[in-house]
Symmetry: C2
Subunit: 488 residues, 2 copies
């Protein structure tokens, strides 16, 4: 790759122009300030970049100015929200020539419209801020994920974030009604609207959503809100095998319908790790363990919401579970009888990544397969991995209701560092992604492509789709100004 700017004078001129436009206080030079490091390293600390500057525009108009200036100077831009990408999507490359466009100052809630069940927010709002603003109006913004206290809604939309309530409410894409965005030419597209239906031309909104900042910079969004459920019932269930867990999911969909808001799965091993590293947190599973203290093969965490009452939510769930128990789909069940028990159950699920981290490096995957193929996929992939690396450990958990698993593999001890570890990562990716492909699945269900999965995408995505994607990128950003090297 050739450098995008001529070093020296041009860079100084760009920086000066940026300072003139945004004010010197909002054009930060990383060299001068170690506290800026967090803008240059990704969440998992796999990618360390450098930047010419980190700029913090105040509004869409200043974002447009930044893009215009960068385009004029042939400098590329890396948009950044909360910098919580798990695939290296929001840090600059190592050249030190890129501008990091941090959107954290675009943090206003612009409007809440209860009669239209919608909210309009700027892109730099934390996801938690959007949730709170909805709650303050007695409504629900249902997007919910682990990093909600630090990720931004702009990043959620740019990566089409998923999370724990997709089953009922959909991903970030399905929660978005309208967008405001800045194009690669530095024009503002005013596409904010609160309509449920609009068939006036190509779906630019959904094209920008999930494009990871490579086709435009999202500066604001109008989002769907929902009534808050009046009651919620949460259960922790022991399933004998994955077939039973999938059969129970099918029944839950029929029986609970839209009430079913979450259906999470946790395998034996990740739960063991929680027991080991966070025994207090694991205590909520006490009733699910056998007399000799053994954990079940799979534990399901299920939420049923009701628009009537807490009691109604409980009764509907209880009826489902009693029948499922009789039919052998589950062996034990615990219903949360109050809010703190419910939180304890969710805390178990949320503590898995932490417990996993205590065990050292994992090769992580965020894969999806149709739920009807899940049991065979799980079985075949595990067999293939164990056949080749008998000592590898598989940490499997995730959003079974959406067919989405976090499928992490730990190398055998003799391949856990250095070159051997890199070779293991490469080889185990091959095995996992080959199986995903065989079952018509996806190599990235919710985390996106970023840098981490780019080569894999190019290798496995159908050539026709790649060629359409490249044509679109070339059409909308011919100079390669926006987040180059991500996705494609």
């Amino acid at each position: 790759m050739s450098p995008l700017v001529r070093p020296g004078l041009d860079q100084q001129a760009l920086l000066q122009a940026l300072r003139d436009a945004l004010g010197a206080a909002h054009v930060l030079i990383a060299d001068a300030d170690d506290t800026l490091e967090r803008h240059l390293v990704d969440w998992r600390k796999r990618y360390q970049g450098q930047a010419l500057a980190i700029v913090r525009p105040a509004d869409a108009s200043q974002v447009a100015t930044v893009i215009q200036l960068c385009a004029r100077f042939g400098t590329s831009v890396v948009p950044q929200g909360g910098n919580t990408s798990l695939v290296g999507g929001s840090v600059p490359d190592a050249t030190g020539t890129q501008i990091v466009l941090n959107l954290s100052r675009l943090n206003r809630v612009l409007a809440v419209d209860p009669a239209n069940l919608s909210i309009t927010v700027e892109a730099g709002c934390l996801l938690a801020t959007v949730q709170s603003a909805a709650a303050d109006a007695g409504l629900l913004f249902p997007l919910s994920l682990a990093s909600e206290g630090s990720c931004t809604i702009g990043g959620n939309l740019a990566t089409n974030a998923g999370g724990t309530q997709v089953l009922r409410y959909g991903t970030a894409r399905e929660l978005c009604l309208g967008l405001e965005a800045v194009t690669a030419q530095g024009d503002i597209w005013h596409g904010l609207q609160g309509l449920r239906k609009d068939n006036t031309g190509y779906d630019l909104r959904d094209l920008l959503i999930g494009s990871e900042g490579t086709l435009g910079i999202i500066t604001a969004a109008t989002l769907r809100l929902y009534p808050r459920p009046k009651g919620q019932a949460t259960a922790l269930l022991a399933c004998p095998d994955m077939s039973a867990a999938v059969a129970l999911l099918e029944r839950a969909r029929y029986h609970l319908d839209a009430g079913l808001t979450a259906y999470e799965v946790m395998a034996h091993l990740p739960l063991q790790l929680v027991q080991q590293h966070h025994p207090d947190v694991a205590r909520v599973m006490a009733t699910l363990t056998s007399e000799d203290g053994a954990l079940p093969a799979w534990v399901i965490l299920l939420d049923n919401c009701s628009n009537e009452s807490e009691v109604h939510a409980q009764q509907r769930l209880q009826a489902l579970l009693e029948q499922a128990m009789q039919d052998g789909l589950l062996t034990q069940a615990t219903l949360a009888s109050n809010a703190s028990q419910r939180q304890a159950m969710w805390h178990l699920r949320e503590t898995i990544p932490l417990s996993e981290r205590a065990e050292g490096l994992m090769v992580k995957h965020d894969i999806g397969v149709p739920t009807s193929a899940m049991a065979v996929f799980i079985n075949d992939t595990e067999q293939a991995i164990k056949a080749r690396w008998p000592q590898a450990r598989i940490i499997c958990f995730g959003h079974l209701g959406d067919g989405n698993l976090h499928y992490n593999v730990q190398a055998p001890p003799d391949q856990s560092s250095g070159d051997a570890s890199r070779a293991f990562e490469h080889a185990v990716n091959e095995v996992v992604f080959d199986h995903v492909q065989r079952f018509h699945g996806t190599l990235s269900a919710e985390h996106g492509i970023g840098v981490l999965r780019r080569d894999e995408l190019v290798k496995r995505k159908p050539a026709v789709a790649l060629s359409m994607m490249r044509a679109i990128k070339q059409a909308l950003d011919p100079a390669g100004t926006l987040n180059p090297g991500r996705v494609l």
Copy 2:
């Protein structure tokens, strides 16, 4: 516009190549057969075209061949499903040089996957066929609209069809998981998949959906299925004014949540027309009329579904209506007590277009505004129309739950034919669309752009959006092979 083909020899060579590829029986020459007329005239009989031939490929591979041949001969292609477009989207232009690509032979249901709640069908399947295939598996495909017995699922997706259950289940876009499509280069994109989450690159699926055959030819789709509701309650309600109708909608969303599957509105005048032309059908409103036989200002048709039972659906609805009645949001209510009463209520709604037709020509609009702006929009637009044309009649009905109205205006008697009628159409469009724009609405909520709304789109869509759309069209179909003159 310059002609796309050199007449004569080239056309004959193309026809011969098409015959060789599809068999002579599936390359139909309109001149030779009057029964082909239905492929050349649109549903509303506003657009009469000519075609070089109507071709009927058997599968995606033959569709690809047709596109390759047409591209090679510089001939453009008009894809056609059930030819039920209301905006002239699926008939050829008047030049007689275009190829009509009729997809009716791609009519197989390829797979039903109950455990994944999905169905895979070819594009030429009638919507009713998809609904039946789902029902045969005990499941629901919720897309439902007036032309479901003659429109195809490919057309529904190409135009992002809406209908009566969008409120709960979304438009065609939201019901689609994966697509197979043929590009302008005649390549097949194999994008059929049954995943709820997939973040591997740009959203080509949603870009093709709603692009009206101008970016690719949809040949098959994997669609979401839902559990069939176990009970349904339907009510016909009299509302004193639009503010009350919108306030009742807001309550219904809170109280019924996902149970609320339809919320249709019908104004006084269209109901009068049903009374006049189809008195038997209007009888279902008997309990809503006042003692002197006057109809209410607005009638609401509401469906509440339950995943528990018929009784549960009724009880929940009844509780909502009792409170709303006390609070003055409605003045009369009739609940259907059996399936035939429910059908009679829906038949009332469905008979409006027929009754309207008996009254002569209407200037039709398919507009949307945020529901929170609906009452003011209705009031202001009516005032503006009546101020200028006191004798104009406004026939207003539609999907209030989605903020989508069919807002049709009949010219005063002295402007109902010839040049005066065309001038009236132009002028009333201006008034309606100006108001739509003022309330941040859409000039086409569910019917799309086609030919009918193209000039209006270019006039009213933000320039930045138009320029992105043109860049995408140019990138994916530089030769203009696919449905030229539609949308853009």
